[in-house]
């Protein structure tokens, strides 16, 4: 009997294997590394979801979402309890990155930028209500909060100020994150990628 060639994966197809499972901790660890580097270099960015995005590129939106969720749970359990609250944001990032990849948005750098914008938008939409609940709208990022203050003082409604506060931080952060993940994805060996269903994400490589 023949086990045949790999079927083309749809947007939501996920191969739940041990390999997929092991990808999750590695993704979380990559997030951690990114965050560490951003802090060490004193960048005004988070860079803490590179692994989530990469996992989503490799194994699809569900795995991206799960990586994001567990990332925040573990971070909350070990270092920073507040990150629990933001696990929904991470889920959003993982889902949107995975969907964009499967729709063929990581075939070229230009397309990857579009994917980055979408991920940024999703992250913002999910985060700002949490910011409003926990911190009455702030993000803790100096630039964002300065904008927030200026806007609120000019009478801009809280939700909009908070949204923009989050957006100015997320936009550069997520676009850069997606581009970094894109670069890493392209450098991965074929032997590794051949064990996943890449869908349109793999178009360029397997062609």
């Amino acid at each position: 009997m023949a086990t045949g060639a790999q079927p083309r994966a749809g947007v939501w197809t996920t191969r739940w294997t041990t390999l997929t499972l092991v990808l999750i901790p590695v993704g979380i660890a990559i997030n951690f590394v990114g965050k560490f580097v951003a802090q060490a270099l004193k960048l005004p960015l988070w860079l803490d979801s590179i692994g989530t995005v990469l996992a989503a590129f490799i194994a699809g939106p569900w795995v991206g979402a799960l990586t994001g969720a567990l990332n925040n749970i573990i971070y909350g359990l070990t270092v920073d309890p507040v990150s629990f609250w933001y696990f929904i944001t991470s889920v959003g990032i993982g889902l949107s990155a995975g969907i964009m990849a499967r729709l063929g948005f990581i075939r070229s750098t230009a397309r990857a930028v579009v994917a980055g914008l979408v991920v940024a938008l999703v992250a913002t939409v999910v985060s700002f209500p949490i910011n409003i609940y926990l911190w009455s709208g702030q993000t803790g990022n100096v630039w964002g909060d300065a904008l927030f203050t200026a806007l609120t003082l000019r009478g801009v409604p809280l939700w909009l100020a908070s949204f923009l506060d989050e957006l100015v931080v997320d936009l550069p952060d997520k676009v850069l994150t997606v581009l970094i993940a894109f670069g890493l994805f392209r450098a991965l060996p074929r032997r590794l990628l051949s064990q996943f269903d890449l869908g349109e994400a793999g178009h360029r490589r397997t062609a």
Partner: protein, 607 residues
């Protein structure tokens, strides 16, 4: 009796493969047998191992035809964890088989048993037993991430032994082990077979396989080239035609025309001894006509030419002490001179190895890797001084030292970091400040030298383990450093690969460079390294010419080593000479035929 492992018409191609990795492979193994799988690099040995556990095709996917059953289960239909209750697999690369979720060696061994739900009392017993079988009880509390290569490989074997499978598949399980560790593993397997364990074992150490195997499977290019009892496979001549080397004693016997009673080639060293005794008696009776062919050129033929004795050693360690941050103390006041200075002429307090390529040998965990990392400046001694060409390296960065000392790591995956083989090979040369064109020229030349010329555009991670080792070697070669250190270069190489490295060692030496080789392969030492340093538990047990060191079996025993088999053969025959290679043995033996001259051991003329 129905076979416990059955492979029928197995043909398989990886998803990214250009050709079939396995082609129409069929064989069957009876319960309790030991099947040795041999073949050159890329023959498909590891792929076959994967196929026996269902990893091919379940995990790897790709095109699969044929049928494999293990313990009555069709491996294509049974989930791997189900198969794993009855079958175990030790992977080729010891550095990547940790669970990654356990903090100590003993918990790592227990990991599989926890998954299978083995009750705690039973689990504790099995963990103790398995650690004891491979000699790692003393490491039980240590973090598995901090073990030496050989210790890791022992751990990997222990993990599988503890699962007590009915069928055990081992992919080059002793590649990083010292000779006594290798013997222990084979002995342990022999004991377990007495209880019914079935073993499929990929192994380059043919001598041991011939001693233990019931069947040999010879693979090349994914096809079965020979299958049957070891004697038959040996007689068929297929091993040589696939580029494999017969064990030294057998080559000696073949060359001298010695045959066992049944007229076939002797398989074990004892058989060779007996056959040679018979041949010698026959010779005395006048009918001995040795069919002499010249074989190896022993290393120390070149020794005299190379020994341009110096007064300053290339590398000197003066009272070096070192401990790892976790408290593992490796060296205490070590003093050693490598390269150039003859043992007699060494400065006060030094042990010196002499001129010529140096082999650094010793048991697992002795500190060999640690020592060369100290020399390369990757680790720094807590006290003492290291000098290269008379100059202390303390104030130099590792990058500066790298201009003079090239180090090829034990684990190639620790050394490779580019996504193209050519870039990898160019990296060092570029850091030397060469122009990109010159760097590329050197890189291509180095790749050519290690036989990877056609793979320059590949991603290093798409290469096999043996190729990755060669790539790491090429990337250091391209820097053309005056000193070159190779940490276990022959691992995962087939016979042509080992010879290639051996030739390279010689060439580099004639180019005037100092080559230091860490290896557990005593035949390699005998053939290519006239100088030897024996390390045991962080101390130098002996240093000097290979011949002098190998002549001291008790000392070797203390370091978990044993002499090359030709020498063991000579001892078993009661010869008074110390032939290190088959060539030497044959020359000496035929000399005996002409009239025994019991020359003193030390003055046996080389070659």
């Amino acid at each position: 009796m129905t076979p416990i492992v059955e492979v029928e018409g197995l043909t398989y191609r990886y998803p990214t493969g250009q050709a079939n990795a396995l082609e129409n492979v069929s064989f069957a193994v009876e319960a309790g047998q030991l099947v040795g799988v041999v073949g050159p690099n890329l023959a498909g040995k590891s792929t076959l191992c994967y196929a026996l556990l269902g990893l091919v095709p379940q995990v790897f996917r790709g095109q699969y035809e044929g049928r494999v059953t293990v313990a009555g289960m069709d491996v294509n239909r049974t989930p791997v964890h189900e198969l794993a209750r009855r079958a175990g697999l030790v992977f080729q690369n010891p550095f990547t088989q940790l669970s990654g979720a356990r903090l100590t060696v003993e918990e790592e061994v227990a990991f599989g048993l926890e998954n299978f739900g083995v009750p705690r009392g039973e689990m504790r017993r099995r963990v103790e037993w398995a650690m004891d079988q491979v000699g790692i009880v003393h490491l039980r509390e240590k973090s598995p991430f901090l073990l030496s290569g050989g210790e890791l490989q022992r751990l990997a074997i222990a993990c599988m032994l503890a699962q007590r499978p009915d069928v055990l598949v081992l992919d080059e399980p002793t590649s990083q082990l010292d000779p006594s560790g290798t013997r222990e593993v084979f002995d342990c397997i022999a004991r377990l077979r007495a209880d019914g364990l079935t073993v499929v074992m990929v192994e380059h150490k043919l001598e041991r396989l011939l001693e233990h195997a019931d069947r040999l499977l010879l693979l090349a290019d994914g096809r079965v080239r020979a299958w049957g009892p070891p004697g038959e496979v040996l007689q068929s001549g297929q091993l040589e035609s696939c580029g494999l080397a017969l064990p030294a004693p057998i080559r000696v016997a073949a060359c001298l025309g010695a045959r066992s009673a049944s007229g076939s080639l002797p398989l074990r060293i004892e058989d060779t001894v007996a056959a040679l005794r018979v041949a010698r008696l026959a010779a005395k009776a006048g009918s001995f006509e040795p069919a002499v062919r010249t074989m190896d050129t022993p290393a120390d033929r070149e020794e005299s030419r190379l020994s341009t004795s110096r007064t300053v050693p290339r590398i000197a360690l003066r009272g070096v002490s070192f401990a790892y941050p976790d408290g593992t103390r490796v060296f205490q006041e070590l003093s050693l001179a490598l390269g150039g200075v003859e043992p007699g002429a060494a400065p006060e307090g030094y042990v010196a190895a002499g001129a010529g390529p140096v082999a650094l040998i010793g048991e697992n965990g002795a500190g060999k890797t640690t020592l060369v990392k100290l020399i390369a400046g990757l680790l720094r001694p807590q006290s003492g001084e290291i000098l290269i060409d008379g100059q202390a390296i303390r104030a130099q960065t590792a990058a500066q030292i790298a201009r003079r000392v090239g180090l090829v790591f034990q684990n190639p995956d620790d050394q490779l970091f580019k996504s193209r083989a050519l870039e990898e090979a160019m990296f060092g040369a570029l850091n030397l400040g060469l122009s990109p064109r010159e760097a590329e020229r050197r890189a291509r030349e180095a790749l050519e030298r290690v036989g990877l010329g056609s793979l320059a555009e590949e991603n290093p991670y798409d290469l096999s383990l043996g190729q990755r080792k060669m790539l790491a070697l090429a990337s250091v070669l391209a820097m053309q450093t005056p000193i070159l250190i190779l940490d276990e270069p022959t691992i995962a190489q087939d016979h042509p690969g080992v010879e290639r490295i051996g030739r390279l060692v010689r060439e580099l030496q004639t180019e005037g460079r100092l080559v230091i080789v860490i290896t557990h392969d005593m035949e390699f030492v005998a053939s290519y390294c006239p100088r030897v340093v024996v390390l045991a538990r962080g101390a130098v047990l002996a240093a000097g010419s290979a011949r002098a060191v190998f002549a001291q079996p008790e000392l070797l025993g203390q370091a978990g080593l044993e002499p090359p088999s030709t020498l063991r053969l000579a001892r078993a025959l009661g010869l008074s000479a110390d032939p290190l290679t088959p060539g030497e043995f044959i020359e000496y033996w035929t000399g005996l035929g002409a009239g025994p001259s019991d020359r003193p051991a030390a003055s046996v003329p080389p070659g």
